[in-house]
């Protein structure tokens, strides 16, 4: 079974470079100032590779994938 994961952005670290939205437009759009708006859903299994790529290319290390537990809260780091 694929684990549930969700994309989260650290708004302090994020500088609005926008690479994530290029890689994963299905889940990430940019607001009027160029900062990512992440869809409030789990990453579907078919997009998990792209989500991982978006996390890897973020130059500010502001994006991460969190496992979602049954309580629907982010996993503790």
């Amino acid at each position: 079974m694929t684990s549930r994961v969700r994309l989260r952005v650290d708004p302090i670290a994020c500088a609005g470079r926008g690479l994530c939205a290029e890689i994963l437009p299905e889940l990430i759009t940019l607001d009027d100032w160029g900062f990512p708006v992440i869809r409030d859903t789990d990453v579907p299994a078919g997009l998990q590779a792209e989500a991982g790529e978006a996390v890897r290319v973020c130059p500010m290390l502001a994006l991460r994938l969190d496992r979602v537990n049954r309580m629907d809260r982010p996993a503790r780091r």
């Binding site: 650290d10 708004p11 302090i12 994020c14 607001d31 009027d32 100032w33 708006v37």
Partner: protein, 435 residues
């Protein structure tokens, strides 16, 4: 609860069980200066030493829970839960009494510290006892720093506190009172919120479990520990017991800070301030992160979270600003929005750029220049919830409520003229904002 016991060096006053009514936090006193330690003890008695007994901590925290005390800094979090979380944390906890009060229109924390510094210090020291903390920091607004220093010195001379109390001046910024910003300020001298660690109750100052509690909350705590939950609950509503300090400003006869039972109608709070000084248009409730409510709808609402909720408002940090009829609510909103934009810590893009864009659009709206209401609403949606702290959310809430309450005025402004017939300036903003 045993109020006869007293800390070493303190002589219990003749204070028995006080009356249930008000005032509790702000008694009338001749002279007007801060309460002395002797006067304070005569009125309230000493602190119950049992609060330092490890085995009785849980009982005291449970009593605070039964009292139903919630944070008076704006968020309204149950105080007992915070105390329990910090007490259960890993490592020796720290207590920070938050008297930063960065909101320019609010005065209740300054007034409380200026008049009853010992009640706040009692609460802070008791919170240390209940959580096992061995240090207390009081972060006070610069305007009352000397009074707090003097009170702390007085207690030191009387050797009445089992833990050291240190005083710091808060950073004079709007977001500086946010709990993570406060820890950041104390630790690094940088008054902006942080995102990691997630909970300062677990990992705050120096990595220690940290209790950040508004000074008014601590003052209530000091009384609950002395007099018990039943006494505390004898005023207020069953769901939201106790009293609350409210800064009343704008078009009222006597703008000042008043203590009131939670749940009394807004009109009764205004009556405490001598009533309206002019016909009113609307009220801003809760603070600059609060909500505008039309005056006709507002006056009968109970001043409580449950009572204000249907109007989209909340008591927030305890503030009611009365806008007189004829003053332009949009101009007031634009001015406060600009202030809130400049008070962004500048860390999160949607807050930094979003609030600035929104403030510019509101400036145009207020001035009767061309503006785009659809774009303004889109921007409000894009700023809402997009920061590391709740600063943008509060600004968005206030501005959305203005666009709703002043909808007719917005339509007038769209036609190029301002609805105001009297000069604005009800809501104070510092002349120079920002770092």
């Amino acid at each position: 609860m045993n109020t006869a016991e007293c800390l070493p060096g303190l002589v219990p006053g003749e204070a028995g069980q006080p009356g249930a009514g008000l005032p509790r936090l702000l008694p009338e006193r001749r002279g007007g200066g801060p309460a002395t330690l002797a006067g304070h003890l005569a009125r309230h008695g000493g602190l119950p030493t049992a609060a330092w007994d490890r085995r009785r901590r849980e009982q005291f925290i449970a009593e605070v829970g039964r009292a139903g005390l919630t944070g008076r800094g704006g968020a309204g979090f149950p105080t007992a839960r915070k105390l329990a979380a910090v007490a259960a944390g890993l490592g020796r906890p720290v207590v920070i009494a938050n008297g930063t009060e960065g909101e320019p229109a609010s005065a209740k924390d300054k007034v409380l510290l200026a008049r009853e510094p010992h009640l706040v210090l009692d609460g802070a020291v008791l919170a240390a006892g209940l959580t096992g903390a061995r240090q207390v920091l009081v972060v006070a607004h610069g305007a009352v720093r000397e009074i707090v220093d003097e009170a702390v010195a007085e207690r030191r001379r009387a050797r009445c506190d089992p833990v050291p109390v240190r005083v710091l001046t808060g950073a004079g910024r709007f977001v500086a009172g946010e709990a993570t910003a406060l820890v950041n300020w104390v630790e690094h001298g940088i008054p902006v919120p942080t995102r990691v660690p997630p909970r300062i109750s677990e990992c705050g100052l120096g990595g220690r479990p940290t209790l950040v509690q508004n000074v008014e909350t601590l003052a209530h705590l000091a009384l609950i520990v002395r007099h018990g939950a039943a006494w505390f609950r004898s005023v207020g509503t069953p769901e939201e017991p106790g009293s609350i300090l409210v800064t009343v400003l704008g078009a009222v006869q006597r703008p000042a800070v008043y203590e009131t039972e939670i749940g009394v109608p807004i009109s009764a709070v205004l009556a405490r301030a001598g009533g309206p000084a002019a016909p009113l248009a609307a009220l801003l409730i809760g603070g600059y992160s609060g909500s505008w409510v039309d005056q006709a709808a507002a006056l009968t609402l109970p001043f409580s979270a449950a009572g204000l909720h249907p109007a989209g408002a909340s008591p927030g940090a305890g503030l009611i600003a009365a806008l007189p009829a004829g003053a332009c609510g949009l101009a007031e909103t634009a001015r406060v929005a600009r202030y809130l934009a400049t008070e962004s810590a500048g860390q999160c893009g949607p807050c930094l750029f979003g609030l600035d864009s929104i403030a510019a659009e509101l400036d145009a709206l207020a001035a009767g220049h061309p503006f785009d209401l659809g774009r303004l609403h889109r921007w409000l949606g894009q700023a809402d919830g997009r920061g590391a702290c709740h600063h943008p959310d509060g600004a968005v809430r206030m501005i959305r409520s203005a666009l709703s309450v002043f909808a007719a005025e917005t339509a007038q402004h769209a036609r190029g003229w301002c609805c105001g017939t009297r000069p604005a300036g009800v809501l104070p903003v510092p002349a120079r904002a920002g770092p």
